[in-house]
């Protein structure tokens, strides 16, 4: 049966898909069972304090609401929570598909039905278009049966895959009003928007508009995106990131082994991640290729294209000195726009394009420095820039030049280019993504990344790789041995059975992004101090403990003041 089958008809699953359908995602203890315990914490604020005022102005109804903490329920909660009124919730896909996306719906459904069997979950057919036009499908066990733990397809049109997606934005006044009217018509208590950075910006805007118009529907954004770029101190990563990194890492590792076996090619591998290089960083740690260039480091160091090429060529030359004529270089999709001069050139060309300047006249109308850079680029790249091919071409030209000048003595440089994007996106989701999506409850909507522009309409910016973070430090610490020693690592493909099925992303592990784990660790410390300072302990110990704890309290008090609270937790170490 076709995946484009009529609405409601189940699709045919392969053996592996059938076995995956039986997988039951794990829930954190605070979300298990019928009872829930909720505590309210600090007020939400922006990550970048300079934006706080503007965001507060734009979001008068929703900014500064307290954070909600879900805690493990105690016995009293269990009794108090015995009866929950039925609720009505709508859910909509917005944005490109990402492995695990369907499990968000399954998780909401199970959570709602656990609380009250009369609760109703409605999916909007065709994504945001369905939201505007009030076209829904009631989610039932039958509807879910073919999509549990399965790969995600949100069809653009025509065909049908579960709920689908369409214009991927709820942006214009018309669209916002249509959404609000649908939510009122359907008497929804909640609207869940599943998507990436843009969709979550839209969700925040919608929440504000709804609140302003006294529409009772609460809006919740769920971070589902391959790029892993919607993360902050409360959100570990996005749904789909783990799967995509595992599939890509397997492929990069295979390319590494191919490179070392053939011994004569440099492989230039580009992975997805437009404005942030989280995928490249994670894949680099998993597969350990010879070189990695992240957009964030290029932007931070303000490297020119020539300097990048020169650095790569130095690496090639250092390897040639060890008789190694193969290698693997990993770059992220957005690298080229991270190079300040390239970004400016692209801007100039785009303006000329929008002014309908013919292709041949473009060089003559560029600024002098842009002309110089334009002439440096190979002709085939001037129209559409494939970063990996651009770099491979320029490195080859530079190596040939060095050879001619006698600066490089070795074999001729040869390259092979790859772009790993489409291959990973449609994958069956890993256990991590199945669990994470199923347990996903909400995302703090008003955290703004440091890149937020303090003028214009506030939006959520993709969170970049933290160049001061532990994962990046680990990569740089190993960079020279990766470059020269071929420490290629074989993570293998995604496993769904056996002890390897629950491996977490390396970046999350090293970045101490394990929030719940950290809280447990702190509780542990408090318990230990309590055990030491019992009646009967020496006066000295008691004094020391009081002094230490008093200073801890002071530090935390200072840090809870507006400025510090906006820094991500892991920078406070």
């Amino acid at each position: 049966m076709s995946m484009n089958a009529d609405l409601g008809k189940p699709r045919e699953l392969t053996g592996l898909q059938q076995r995956r359908a039986l997988y039951q995602p794990e829930l954190p203890p605070c979300l298990e069972g019928k009872a829930i315990r909720v505590e309210f914490g600090d007020s939400t604020t922006t990550i970048d304090p300079t934006c706080a005022n503007m965001v507060a102005q734009e979001f008068p109804n929703t900014f500064g609401q307290p954070l909600v903490h879900f805690l493990k329920p105690n016995k009293m909660d269990a009794q108090a929570n015995d009866e929950h009124p039925p609720i009505r919730v709508g859910v909509v896909f917005s944005g490109r598909q990402s492995p695990g996306g369907h499990n968000v719906i399954w998780g909401i459904y199970d959570a709602m039905k656990t609380q009250n069997l009369q609760s109703v979950l409605l999916g909007f057919i065709g994504g945001t278009e369905g939201l505007f036009a009030n076209q829904t499908l009631e989610i039932t066990d039958d509807v879910l049966s073919a999509y549990r733990n399965q790969e995600s397809l949100y069809l653009l049109e025509g065909g049908f895959d579960f709920l689908g997606r369409t214009v991927d934005q709820i942006h214009t006044t018309e669209q916002v009003n249509a959404a609000m009217s649908t939510c009122c018509d359907l008497d929804l208590d909640g609207l869940v928007i599943i998507g990436g950075v843009t969709s979550n910006s839209d969700a925040a805007q919608l929440a504000e508009t709804f609140a302003n118009h006294n529409c009772k529907t609460k809006v919740v954004g769920v971070p589902v995106s391959l790029n892993g770029d919607l993360k902050n101190q409360f959100v570990e990563t996005t749904v789909g990131f783990d799967t995509v990194c595992k599939v890509n890492s397997q492929l990069i590792s295979n390319v590494c082994l191919d490179a070392i076996s053939a011994g004569k090619y440099y492989h230039f591998v580009r992975v997805m991640g437009w404005k942030a290089s989280h995928v490249a960083l994670e894949c680099a740690l998993q597969s350990q290729p010879n070189m990695v260039i992240l957009g964030e480091e290029v932007a931070f160091s303000k490297l020119t294209l020539k300097e990048i090429i020169s650095k790569i060529c130095d690496g090639v030359q250092a390897r040639a000195a060890q008789e190694k004529y193969h290698g693997v270089l990993l770059i992220s999709e957005g690298l080229i726009e991270s190079i300040p001069e390239m970004f400016a050139l692209i801007q100039e060309i785009n303006i000329l394009h929008s002014n309908k300047v013919p292709e041949n006249n473009i060089p003559s109308q560029l600024s002098p420095w842009a002309t110089a850079l334009y002439n440096y680029l190979p002709p085939f790249i001037r129209r559409e820039i494939d970063t990996e091919q651009l770099l491979a071409h320029l490195v080859e030209a530079e190596m040939n030049k060095r050879m001619k000048e006698g600066k490089y003595i070795g074999r001729k440089f040869s390259s092979v280019c790859h772009f790993f994007g489409y291959q990973a996106r449609g994958s069956l989701p890993s256990n991590f993504d199945c669990d994470y999506a199923y347990a996903m409850m909400s995302v703090k909507r008003h955290s703004r990344s440091p890149g937020a522009v303090p003028t214009g309409k506030p939006v959520i910016h993709p969170s970049p790789v933290d160049l001061k973070g532990k994962a990046y430090a680990l990569l740089r610490e190993k960079a020279s041995s990766f470059l020269l020693d071929d420490f290629y690592r074989t993570p293998g493909g995604i496993q769904f059975d056996g002890s390897g099925a629950n491996v977490k992303p390396i970046t999350l592990t090293v970045e101490d992004q394990d929030y719940l784990g950290d809280i447990e660790l702190l509780q542990d410390y408090l318990e230990k101090v309590r055990n030491i300072v019992k009646p009967g302990c020496s006066r000295e110990i008691l004094k020391a403990a009081i002094s230490s704890m008093s200073s801890v309290k002071d530090v935390l008090k200072v840090m809870s003041a507006p400025f510090y609270a906006e820094l991500p937790l892991f920078n406070l170490n």
Copy 2:
């Protein structure tokens, strides 16, 4: 620790690699335990009868030897086989790496040690160079420990991965003599050559030369190659084929889901397989993309490039009529050379290149028809032909033309190109390849494929996809529904645990290539007839049985005559 670590040092394995190291491959019953039972069958011959004379002339010592059948030993064998003398065997990698390659060595080692602990297995370091220079490493449990069920890397030089590979041929008189001298010096009873089509041709030549010089070393070729192109009635497939098809099928399936999700791109995917399209056929059956073009069908139908483009465009147009503007097209690496006119053009260009004709002068020196074809090709493709890009470009041009002429009304055609080769080759081998490689004993050396040229030196030709075979028939039967209905299938990645770990290639399953299974089936029929025709059965039944069996015997007798014996079994249905 680096994979380039010093000889003998173990490399560091990831969690998945460690778990894979514990996998114990399954053996067919005839190879289990210490006892062996061997029977001699018909004489070897060539697949193409017109070559038989020439091969017999070139291989006077080895041609026509009886086939060896390994059978399940009975009790008497077990007693008779109690003591085997120790033997000395050398093993060498020749050709590109293929997943499962290392397991061939492990299987030989275990089989030899089971027979007699004093037997010695020597690996040649650096492939054929090590064979010529008599550089060996004794295979021990310690040496094997880091390579059981692991991905294969046969390093070209410098670095070390187990045994490595180098020039990949044993071809010149000098090389053959060096190999013979090494085998004599080491007093080898056997030499095992692990590789693809060329390496197995070399193995056959070496066997003949050794026999001619009364060198006691028996030469055995083992078919290890990604392409699956060394197959005949005795050899199901090559080691590595299953793994590569599974990895590629997962990626193609992901691309399919990406295509349907975005709804606006045609993906042109090229997979490996230079002279034969087995990988493309298997991957097509596993992932079910919209269109597949095999080199064999193009060659058989003598299609021109224009006709191929036209066929693809018709498919695009048929889909557009259903409002589908996405699709996935699968082609095999060697497609372009299968197009007769392209092959001729490439030959002409190669001759001009070898005569050092400058690039710019090439068009003027081509024959008239070649010039016409050359001018039809896009400029970027004239130097180095990436088939998928060539097809995508020409299809786009043709669709634009049809649109201009009003023959096609629909959205503009857009494409994305992929080459899946390097990504799959370095993969951890599937259970099938681990088992198959471990149990692999020998390959019938003198089967010649139908493509063998009856002049010059005989070599083993890659066996093409059988256009009369069941797998191809299955593909064609489903072609129109694949084209229009998006029957995309999700095989998922290679699984090493759970019930999905032992899935076999689809082509092998549908092609009845299950040799042992077929023999069992036949035994079953014989048993049934024996049970029916017992004393007491009616005279009519007995008569009918005698008449039928007599005609079966006659048919088999005729078929055992030289001409028929050379056809592959599955064509006799």
